[in-house]
């Protein structure tokens, strides 16, 4: 009996050890494995809002008329140049020649007309349809010129055409881009092992400068602890949006890695239901602003990564005005304002928190800060689906925390039915004149005025700009440090020997 067992144990050990072969790492000078937290639902950037789509295909697989670089500048892409009429209503785009799609189809002006008309159409499922609303008509003038007429001047039209939602697709492959994306970019889609990875290959017929990388893999790793292990074990070369800020210090002290803290377009705010009592009272909102301590939230919830903001505008933008001092942290003042508004003993309210850690962790700290001035918050965790339904659609909330990641989105404050329900005709007038102004200096002045109104009205609790924490192998260069649009542009990435 005992010897049988002994033999059996030996057998188990031997068969176990034969399974262990030495791991030959995929070391390539021209291949990059990028870790990413969220898996895209599909790969068509013109039919979904998920940032994870653009994070794979933007600038790599698909290209638009213009493109945005990591400093938020508008660069030519499929349009090599453009002319704007004096009244700002007509844009004439001159297209690149000799461009072909990955399936061999030729790119010309008809594809541009098709793509823009499709995005603006009645039955369009483009998540950013509003970008195309100013377009009156799109006409081809010969194969390499497109004339776009606008209904009203739109100062940031060229920037908008650089969004992932405005990429140019081919009529023949537009329907199947979700599972087999066909674009004009330097990388071709190779395959997608759902739940695990997306592989890109080289586009040998690329019209522009060929990137140093010949192939790339996006590896989907949702768990922060697994992300740490994957980087440490060398399974991934880079994590452009690293999900575990608490582990950043460990990587900073490890010479194998580079840690880069950049900025994003994510204004993280304590969204306030401006029509809901008592938040319709300016004094109550001011009291909340005085009660909040942004730096404490950044340190506690984001491990120090993030920049305090005083209004709904990205600090890295040239037109940014620092308004963080509008309502400085002052609990005494906050209690006074609450008493003036008729709440000497404070009041009770709810705080609904979506899943991201900035909300869940930040919410606890905010609840503690507001309780010091008498506002007792009941924390209700919700998942995204519930958040969209209860808060965004049905406006059934007092307070919530969310990061608004769309670039240059101050215009959402003009929408009376937007979920925080802010209504100020004075603000709307400023944005209206901004839309019809193209002189950069005038535009900056108007943007400054708009920022000041929002700060003064304490529309929402303006907390901080979300940081972009990137960690990658020290031999990798050319990855974006900032993300003005949500993208992992691999065209400039290379390995140092």
């Amino acid at each position: 009996m005992k010897s049988t067992i002994r033999r059996y144990v030996k057998l188990l050990l031997i068969s176990g050890s034969t399974l262990i072969f030495s791991g030959a790492a995929f070391a390539g000078e021209s291949h990059l494995t990028m870790g990413t937290v969220l898996e895209p639902p599909h790969l068509d950037p013109t039919a979904g809002a998920a940032a994870a789509i653009d994070e794979v295909v933007y600038a790599n697989v698909f290209e638009g008329l213009t493109r945005i670089n990591q400093n938020a500048e508008v660069l030519p892409a499929l349009a090599k140049s453009w002319d704007i009429s004096a009244d700002g209503l007509t844009y004439t785009f001159h297209l690149q020649n000799g461009v072909i799609f990955h399936d061999g189809a030729t790119f010309d002006s008809s594809d541009v007309v098709f793509s823009l008309e499709r995005a603006a159409a009645e039955n369009s499922t483009n998540a950013q349809k509003a970008l195309f609303a100013p377009i009156a008509s799109v006409k081809a003038q010969g194969p390499s010129t497109v004339v776009v007429a606008l209904k009203t001047p739109k100062g940031n039209f060229l920037f908008n055409m650089g969004w992932g939602d405005a990429v140019i697709v081919d009529p023949l492959s537009a329907g199947s881009n979700k599972s087999k994306p066909i674009g004009t970019g330097p990388f071709t889609f190779k395959r997608w092992v759902r739940g695990d990875r997306i592989e890109l290959g080289q586009n040998a017929n690329y019209w522009g400068v060929k990137p140093a990388l010949k192939s790339a893999t996006f590896k989907i790793i949702p768990d922060p602890a697994a992300a740490v292990a994957a980087l440490m074990a060398g399974d991934v070369d880079a994590f452009a949006n690293f999900p575990a800020p608490e582990m950043a210090a460990q990587f900073q002290s490890d010479s194998r890695f580079i840690v880069k803290v950049g900025s994003t377009e994510g204004e993280t705010i304590l969204s306030t239901n401006n029509l809901q009592k008592p938040f319709d009272d300016l004094r109550v909102r001011q009291a909340i602003a005085h009660a909040l301590n942004s730096q404490e939230i950044i340190d506690g919830a984001m491990f120090g990564f993030g920049t305090p903001i005083g209004t709904h505008f990205a600090p890295h933008h040239a037109a940014y005005v620092d308004l963080t001092g509008t309502y400085p942290h002052d609990p005494q003042k906050a209690r006074q304002l609450l008493a003036d508004a008729g709440f000497p003993g404070g009041f009770k309210a709810t705080l609904k928190l979506p899943p991201p850690s900035y909300a869940r962790r930040g919410g606890e700290i905010i609840a503690a800060q507001l309780s010091k001035v008498g506002i007792k918050l009941e924390i209700i965790p919700v998942e995204w689906a519930q958040w969209l339904d209860q808060i965004f659609k049905n406006k059934d909330f007092d307070l919530t925390i969310v990061s608004h990641t769309e670039p240059m989105d101050i215009g959402i404050y003009t929408r009376p039915t937007y979920y925080f329900q802010y209504r100020n005709p004075g603000f709307n007038a400023v944005i209206k004149s901004l839309n019809v102004t193209s002189n950069p200096k005038r535009r900056y002045a108007l943007m400054g005025a708009a920022q000041a109104i929002l700060a003064k009205d304490a529309v929402n609790g303006f907390l901080f700009q979300l940081a972009k924490l990137g960690i990658w192998n020290k031999n990798v260069s050319g990855l974006w440090e900032n993300s003005p649009v949500q993208a992992n542009d691999l065209t400039g990435v290379s390995w140092k020997n």
Partner: protein
């Protein structure tokens, strides 16, 4: 025996029908609109309506239920809202990982648990019994995800023998695919093996005291033969019951391990689909899992028949 089988089979069908109704009703009352999740916060109302119509969400509830059941019966599971691919191919892709992983884990767990459990019982109150049960106690107490992280730290980060996670895929070769399943299978198998070993030990301990084992020994069978041919065989009923439960768990209950090793398994697909309100995927996976549990239970019943002759006699029904 036939009556037993027919009864069990009808119970199986009714269970599945009730399960399908419950799944459908639960998803009906689940808050959240799939269209607004896909299109995000910038979407306009007309865009949402267009997408809802495209997904068939404008039909009445009974109509959608019967379409779903009819589809399932004809092998058509519909298309995923988010992935826009047939649900059947999504599930098959995930099963190509989850089934082999479950099989590896259950084999490893059985191969470890039964011999060690029997060994512990045979050496009751001796050193090897205490040792094995000590380890088993530890195995029951240690959560498998924590054990998994330790395995990764040691074998992937420190030694570099395995990758820290991910699934190479079968098209990369049998070796590469199996290699990426080793650590997950071990971390799933050991805690289960610990439970199974304890069950085996106590079941065997109970049967060795029975009269028929003594009779077998009196007939001249050696201690080993009496143990394996009579005691162990009779002890297998509780063991098989536990194995059935563990197998059902392994097919979809492994989401935490799948997250730790970022494996594209069925559990993660289900979790993701719930978060994104991809209800087509959710209801089909859940009904599939319900069917698996029911079928595994049915098979366990069959095993009882094979193991226990008394059940084969219809007069006992």
């Amino acid at each position: 025996m036939t009556i037993f089988l027919v009864k069990r089979f009808f119970a199986l069908l009714i269970t599945l029908l009730v399960a399908s109704l419950i799944i459908f009703l639960l998803l009906e009352i689940l808050p959240g609109d799939p269209a607004s999740i896909i299109l995000g916060v910038g979407a306009q109302e007309d865009t949402l309506t267009a997408l809802r119509a495209e997904m068939g969400l404008n039909l009445s509830a009974p109509e959608r239920y019967f379409r779903w059941i009819a589809g399932v019966l004809t092998g058509d599971f519909g298309r995923s809202y988010t992935y826009d691919t047939p649900v059947s191919s999504l599930i098959l892709e995930r099963l190509s990982l989850s089934l082999p992983l479950a099989f590896l884990a259950i084999s490893l767990s059985t191969l470890l648990a039964i011999p060690f459990g029997v060994l512990a019982a045979a050496n009751h109150k001796h050193f090897s019994d205490t040792g094995i049960m000590g380890f088993a106690q530890l195995g029951v107490a240690v959560p498998n995800f924590w054990f998994a992280i330790l395995l990764i730290l040691f074998f992937s980060v420190k030694l570099g023998w395995f990758s820290a996670g991910g699934f190479a895929g079968w098209e990369m070769g049998l070796g590469a695919a199996l290699k990426s399943l080793v650590l997950p299978a071990v971390s799933l198998a050991l805690p289960q093996a610990a439970i199974l070993a304890r069950v085996t030990r106590s079941a065997v301990l109970e049967t060795v005291r029975e009269d028929f084992v003594r009779t077998a020994r009196a007939k001249g069978l050696s201690r080993n033969s009496a143990l394996w041919r009579h005691a162990v065989r009779n002890a297998l009923i509780p063991v098989v019951t536990i194995l059935g439960l563990q197998l059902s768990f392994l097919l979809a209950g492994t989401i935490i391990i799948e997250n730790v090793f970022y494996l594209p398994g069925l559990g993660r697909l289900l979790f993701q689909a719930i978060a994104q309100r991809d209800l087509v995927v959710v209801k089909n996976i859940v009904i599939l899992l319900a069917a698996t549990v029911v079928v595994v239970n049915f098979l366990v019943d069959m095993f009882y028949l094979a193991l226990d002759p008394r059940l084969r006699d219809d007069t006992h029904e």
